[in-house]
Amino acid sequence: MSEIKAEGLRHVYSVGTPFEKVAIDNINVLIPHGQLVGIIGHTGSGKSTFIQHLNGLLKPTAGKVCCDGQDINASKQITHDVRFKVGLVFQYPEYQLFEETVYKDIAFGPKNMKLSEGEIDQHVREAARFVGVDEELFERSPLELSGGQKRRIAIAGVIAMRPGVLILDEPTAGLDPEGCAQILQNICDYRRETGSTVILVSHSMDDVARIADRLIVFSGGGIFMDGTPQEVFSRPDELTDIGLSVPEPTAIAMALHRRGVELGSAVYTTEQLVSAVKALGKGASGC
């Protein structure tokens, strides 16, 4: 079980200098075990600052973060331990690879957990399987692989700690469509098989719309919307007002709406769009 709760979270960068900046303010959110949460928001909306609080990398200026009811900043030991419970994959994680071999790099996290050799081996193989990294690559240098492979190995490095909560910051940034789809599939598989909570930060509305149970929209350092994709995308105008895009199918539905064609409630996946248009066709033929 891994439940995350943030209460009155506030973070100010560079306190006491002319560069002082409130990054997030008054964030209250409860993420129950097993949920797949999508976090969306503009650059500078505070979403990256927020996720770095969840594993104690940043300390809140005010408020607190609890993991399973335990304040994660209560002591140094707890903060250290929470890193293994809440796995954070940074943006462009391939730049953190450093070991001589792929195997050793994935094993870095489990090693820091002070596991036995056997357990480490088990964790590494399992993580590699989740992200679709072939065991043949284990003895290669991570630096000589392709960008997509590097990204997967870096994600495996975090998954290998078997975190109850997996947070990924823009895991698909800069990948080709096929690579994106694969990574998202890996994340869905991981969540299905382990029942972990997954928090996915993304610019791509289409990605999060397809796989998330819940969306949290950040704007100007606060939570702007919080609900199911259905609820969030039923208010597309507000999303475009704060400078966010909407998924392609929603954009089409909005365009139709402007031309007087109503597709009913929120449409945010291709399947929903197709069935809504089909239903429309049936209704129209009756006239």
Binding site: Y13, L57, Q96, L143
Partner: protein, 261 residues
Amino acid sequence: MLKDVTLGQYFPGNTVVHRLDPRTKIILVIVYIVALFNAYNWYSYALVAAVTLGCIAASRIKPKTIMKGLKPLIIVIVLTALLNLFYTTGTPIVPGWIITWEGLKKAVLLVARIIMLIAGTFLLTYTTSPIALTDGLEILLNPLKKIKVPVHEMSMALRFIPTLTEETDKIMSAQKARGADFETGSLLQRARALLPILVPLFVSSFRRADELAVAMESRCYHGGEGRTRMKTLKYANRDLWALLLGAAFLAGVIALKKFGL
């Protein structure tokens, strides 16, 4: 974390100190350091301290900010004070004590010298943007080009310090997220713990340098020879006044030393 290190940080402002030409400021800092090392008694120290405080006041930089910059050097300062306090021979303050009047004086003056040295140089980086600073430095070092010192390239390298700091910060966070521990353990363990930061940092520095070289070449860069600037530095009247005051200040300190006041 690393971003909190104030060394080399710029605080924008619009005071006389901010507006001075970076070349003037660099020269004045050198003059200041020479003066500081020529000061050796209470009077000359008082003069240097007055000038330091005057400059800080004119720059409107909060004294607290300057103090924050001193923090990383606190150990050096304390050690200097203690060593001088205990290892100077002379008349004891209380008969039989190891602490002497001479030691006390030396300790106080040396600590004052270190603090003023740091405060003075910090004032330069606090009030000058990194770009102005490197431009000024490049022009001042221009004569060295004659003896094949890569002055232009050196100033270009300075530009990367903030970028690399940011990069280090990012990599550190990423490794900490995987449970890396940089704070505990023996010296050897802590040195080993740096490996996961240094390797990615080197890799990304080379990649960045490569990308930058390509980007510059594709914009027809061919070295610093004959290159003009969008913003050329110009001396104003205030620079002349500042330099004159600086010269007067140095002369004053040297005079105090000469006449043994």
